[in-house]
Symmetry: C2
Subunit: 386 residues, 2 copies
């Protein structure tokens, strides 16, 4: 019997946003995007795979629920692409391509919270399968992309550039690393998880509507994104935080502007999101320099970027402006959250309590990796803690 | 002694939005805009003017407050332009150009409510002065424009097209009537006055920031607005409500998208505005046809367009979804608000009470006109009811 292989894969946060596909089936984007890969220590998807001639059928467990592979087109495609690759590398009659595969996957953060769980999930699935079948040196980003577009960026650590490419078959639509996480070790990422009950349009549906109806998206794709992508890559290489931060904020706002230009409009930011945006601009203005920036995906949660040296002072202001009934020990999660600076020199007004569920502080990470803490037993049964 | 002349001028609501100036001093817009002029019976600015050799100095009273003409550049410009026009028409040494002018003006709706009070106000000032000095057949829209851009559209009734023009001096940046109010007498306009305390960026400051920082505004101006302007003028001529309504909603959303693309972003819509937007799309979808459309200016209040035949049913749903503690007799103001249709077949969920201060129902109007109900006595003193 083969052994269980288990890997973790990270969440990535886009600073130049992916919004709109040029090919729905192959998941080819209309424009380039740029992202930061987060440390797996705080947030990750974890996937265990057992594959072999004795496994009776393909099956996928996600967060304790069995998934139907046949009706889940994207999951099916990842299995098919991996098997195709096995046949290409190991011969048309390779037995391994005929093995059934058992998968168990889970996220260590809320799937429903709009925290890019599918990106981490598909990156983890593809990376783990690649480890099982000895395919880790292949272009895994193209396979992960066909599970969930932005998953292709979670295949690499540090700063990642997903090139839209031109090929109709998507051969040049792959992710590449701009710089490793060690290039800018001072970078910190804060995730403000907003208390939110509202329904939202899924990003798959939203971007389809935008492609169909937003005139501004055309200009964004043709003109704005290419310029910004070059500029932010340069800012990353130069470790020019202010430039990086400004482009990040502008691109988040432009993405949400395109959503609003969609017909009917797609609205992902709520009142709390707007209060965060407003606070960040006020904070930077009070300091007289861009110390912190925000970006928002297709949901109300904020992702903030700040350098380590500025973290303590900012956090003390942040918990002051957005207070919680929880003690800081549970309100603030992740790394370097203590001690808070006692200095609150700008006197921002406190808002209502509990606008956030919690604040997560994390840093850049190095991408997917294998671990020994499995979700499956070697006989293919689920470990009891699942 | 001369007699007091008093006029009223209407509010206008843009369906293709004016956002961005190509000349700050002359108030020349970057793009064409299209508006509907509302009936003066429900909402108007009213201005009384007394001018003559015996008036001791220029003075302007607005809503009971004395204004400083010297420090108010736009007010001063309107006085100067009128006096220039007097000299052009009546000779360089015309005595009338030397007369001092006493002005008393007020709005019959809240100035602070973001209901285009300055458009009505400047249109009224210019129209009244023109009546005093026998200049009513002149291009008053160009003078009103230099008081407040959108004021040029309140000079005409019905449907109005403000052409951006190309001339650096603004000679071709004037408003023209597309069609009179009698062309589409079934058109109704609802104003949902949202309860709101939040500060906002003034539209003057906001549009300046957008011109400076929004890349999407460039595309809107060059590409989107010219196409939409032609399309909506055709829809108005054809009385094609669905076409008119869709373009109106799209252009409102695009204008607010440009505001969001501004750096730092300008946000005028609040959560209630977004709930209105969402409700209108749900309502039209439930009916299976575009029966009602929305537009928002630089504030959270909604302006809705609907045809008279669809008003009663829609109003009954609207007060059901957005209830008030007030009785309908004070919650619903204006025309044709009763009786409400008893049929509520779509079962939309009611939201919290009192999200709106009130709902005003009005119709198209024919533009500024003279009235006999003066705000000044013939000796230049303010009437006591001010």
């Amino acid at each position: 019997m083969n052994k269980v292989v288990t890997c973790v894969a990270p969440v990535n946060i886009a600073t130049i946003k992916y919004w709109g596909k040029r090919d729905e089936h192959l998941i080819l984007p209309l424009n380039d995007s740029v992202s930061l890969t987060l440390d797996c220590d705080q947030m990750h998807a974890k996937t265990s795979v057992l594959a072999g001639p004795l496994i009776d059928e393909d099956s996928v467990w996600l967060n304790g629920q069995i998934m139907s592979i046949e009706t889940n087109e994207r999951l099916k495609k990842c299995f098919d692409l991996i098997r195709n690759l096995i046949r290409i590398r190991k011969g048309e009659n390779s037995q391994e391509a005929k093995w059934n595969i058992r998968v168990c996957s889970e996220n260590n953060f809320p799937t429903a919270a709009g925290l890019a769980s599918s990106a981490a999930g598909y990156a983890c699935l593809v990376y783990t399968l690649a480890n099982v079948f000895g395919l880790v040196d292949e272009d895994l980003s193209s396979i992960a992309r066909q599970g969930s577009g932005s998953a292709c960026r979670s295949i690499y650590g540090g700063f990642v550039h997903w090139k839209a490419g031109n090929d109709d078959l998507g051969s040049d639509s792959t992710a590449v690393q701009i710089a490793a996480d060690t290039h800018w070790p001072e970078m910190r990422i804060l995730i403000l998880v907003v208390n939110e009950t509202q329904k939202k349009t899924s990003s798959t549906v939203g971007m389809k509507q935008s492609v169909k109806t937003s005139e501004l998206l055309k200009y964004r794709v043709q003109k704005c994104v290419p310029e910004r992508t070059n500029e932010i890559i340069q800012a990353i290489m130069d470790k020019n935080f202010e430039k990086f931060a400004e482009i990040t904020m502008r691109d988040s706002n432009q993405f949400h502007a395109v959503c609003l230009d969609t017909y009917p409009p797609c609205v992902y930011l709520n009142q709390v999101s707007h209060e965060i945006i407003s606070f960040i601009h006020d904070y930077n203005e009070a300091i007289g320099q861009i110390k912190v920036s925000y970006t928002f995906d297709a949901g109300p949660n904020a992702f903030l970027f700040i350098q380590q040296k500025d973290l303590s002072l900012f956090l003390s202001e942040l918990v002051n402006v957005f207070p919680s009934h929880q003690p800081n020990s549970s309100y603030l999660r992740g790394i370097e959250t203590m001690p808070l600076s006692k200095i609150k020199p700008y006197g921002f007004k406190s808002k209502d309590k509990d606008l956030f569920r919690y604040i997560m502080v994390t840093k850049l990470g190095s991408g997917p990796k294998c671990v020994n803490d499995h979700l499956l037993n070697n006989d293919g049964t689920l470990k009891s803690n699942n």
